[in-house]
């Protein structure tokens, strides 16, 4: 069975990520143990909370993560995706993991748009990435965020429009990231997790 390690770097709801991965057919372990991480087929970097806090909590596992992603896939979710990028502008300028080129920016206030971007919005698939195997273009997924990834088209595998078009899913080599929460996106979300498990297998 494919084992996916969910990095436990602090607070937030990681139970749903675990249950989602299990439902999608993986053995999921919540861990901060380097050996257990390295013994897994894939890694999920979950994310709820603030960027700088998340990076701080992740500090001890950074080396392991860099080693892991050389050979095997990593999926960042929400803040976890944002941490894959180089720089975040959330409450000051913070350095991210730099696994995906780009910058995390805050949504600009615009008449008629609430921040956070909260709720179900659709994905415009910009290529044919294996993460979206069997997922229809314009599928609805669940978002909740006030910051977004600003990255080049070559690293963007799905785009969503809210205030401005932004990268709602990214990929660079073995690093994947989704701004939305697949574990909160019903059957479509479970299918995306299933695809990630297949990539890891």
């Amino acid at each position: 069975m494919t084992q996916v390690a969910i990095l436990d770097y602090g607070l937030g709801n990681i139970r749903s990520v675990k249950k989602g991965l299990e439902k999608a057919g993986a053995k999921a372990v919540i861990t901060s143990d380097c050996e257990e991480i390295m013994a897994s087929d894939g890694v999920v970097l979950p994310g709820v909370g603030a960027f700088s806090e998340g990076m701080e909590q992740l500090d001890d596992m950074k080396g392991t993560l860099f080693e892991f992603v050389e050979k095997r896939p990593v999926l960042g979710i929400c803040l976890g995706m944002q941490m894959l990028l180089e720089i975040s502008e959330e409450y000051g300028i913070h350095e991210g993991l730099g696994l995906v080129p780009g910058r995390v920016r805050g949504f600009e206030k615009k008449e008629g748009f609430k921040i956070p971007h909260m709720g179900w919005n659709n994905l415009t698939l910009t290529g044919s990435d294996p993460l979206f195997e069997g997922i229809k273009d314009q599928t609805y997924v669940y978002f909740v965020h006030s910051y977004y990834a600003d990255t080049a088209p070559e690293y963007t595998i799905a785009e969503t429009d809210y205030i401005c078009p932004f990268s709602s899913a990214v990929r660079n080599k073995n690093a994947w990231g989704t701004q939305f929460h697949p574990e909160k996106s019903g059957d479509a979300g479970l299918k995306i997790l299933e695809n990630f498990i297949a990539i890891a297998d």
């Binding site: 179900w120 919005n121 965020h145």
Partner: protein, 270 residues
């Protein structure tokens, strides 16, 4: 294509069971929460809210258990509220599988709780629930709300399940909650709650226009058009309802099909 409007069934829980009353009183047993939540998921609910109305310790552990069970079976956002007064309470519920926690009375008494929660878990996790009641005695510093009949009033925040008026202006409090880091407002009007005559449009529209965060309208749905009014006239980002769904008067799918016909964007593929 755009961000869709959300339909949110709300489950009021007492000792781990669903109950629903009118005007915050007169409770009736309406079933197992996880069973009901799964049914709503199948109908296309966009989120589910659990509001715990028990105050006892046993009730709280029953709540944690319900959230755990719900999070195991449902892959959609879960909000939990009721009796949350510390970040420790928040941690326990988020760990159990909640995505957002809603604070009401405790935040009015200790507004710093919103700041603390937002700093620890992010703004998106913290929902400020506000119970508001019309007050016709105007005073300085309150936000005037003009009613359809032309009369002028303001809305007062009430706490402890609607039993204690605070003298606080609901519009000002909503703005303060936003400044302190709340990611969403859950607004229940005590004028309309349980009455089934529709959401309280004047106060909903006022607060929705004054804050930059999403507003969930709550209290008063009796028929399907009320949802339309909540979104179009009340400018709500989400509409919450309980009894019309619990007692099978309509399904979430019925509501969404109706809204779509009237050009309100809703998520239909699930």
């Amino acid at each position: 294509m755009a961000l869709t409007k959300r339909i949110i069934p709300c489950l009021d829980l007492k000792s781990g069971r669903v109950v629903k009353g009118t005007n915050f009183l007169g409770l009736r047993d309406a079933g197992d929460p996880v069973e009901l939540a799964c049914r709503y998921n199948d109908q296309g609910a966009d989120e589910v809210v659990f509001l715990d109305i028990t105050a006892s310790k046993e009730g709280r552990s029953a709540l944690i258990h319900v959230i755990e069970r719900a999070a195991d079976e449902l892959f959609l956002p879960l909000t939990v509220g009721g009796g949350i007064s510390t970040t420790g309470d928040m941690t326990a519920l988020l760990r159990a599988g909640a995505d957002k926690v809603s604070v009401n009375t405790s935040a009015v008494k200790n507004p710093g709780l919103i700041n603390e929660g937002a700093e620890m878990f992010g703004n998106q996790c913290i929902v400020a629930a506000i119970d508001a009641r019309r007050n016709d005695e105007m005073k300085d510093g309150v936000n005037e709300i003009v009613m359809p009949d032309g009369s002028v009033c303001w809305y007062e925040v009430v706490i402890y399940g609607g039993s204690k008026p605070t003298g606080i202006d609901a519009v000002s409090w909503a703005k303060e909650a936003e400044e302190r880091g709340a990611g969403e407002i859950l607004l229940t009007s005590m004028e309309t709650d349980g009455v089934k005559q529709g959401f309280d449009i004047p106060v909903t529209a006022k607060i929705a226009s004054e804050v930059g965060i999403p507003v969930i309208a709550s209290g008063g749905v009796g028929n399907i058009q009320h949802f339309y009014d909540g979104f179009v006239k009340g400018h709500a980002d989400a509409c919450l309802a309980a009894s019309v769904f619990h007692f099978g008067e309509m399904t979430v799918r019925d509501v969404k099909e109706y809204l779509l016909r009237r050009d309100v964007p809703v998520r239909m593929d699930w």
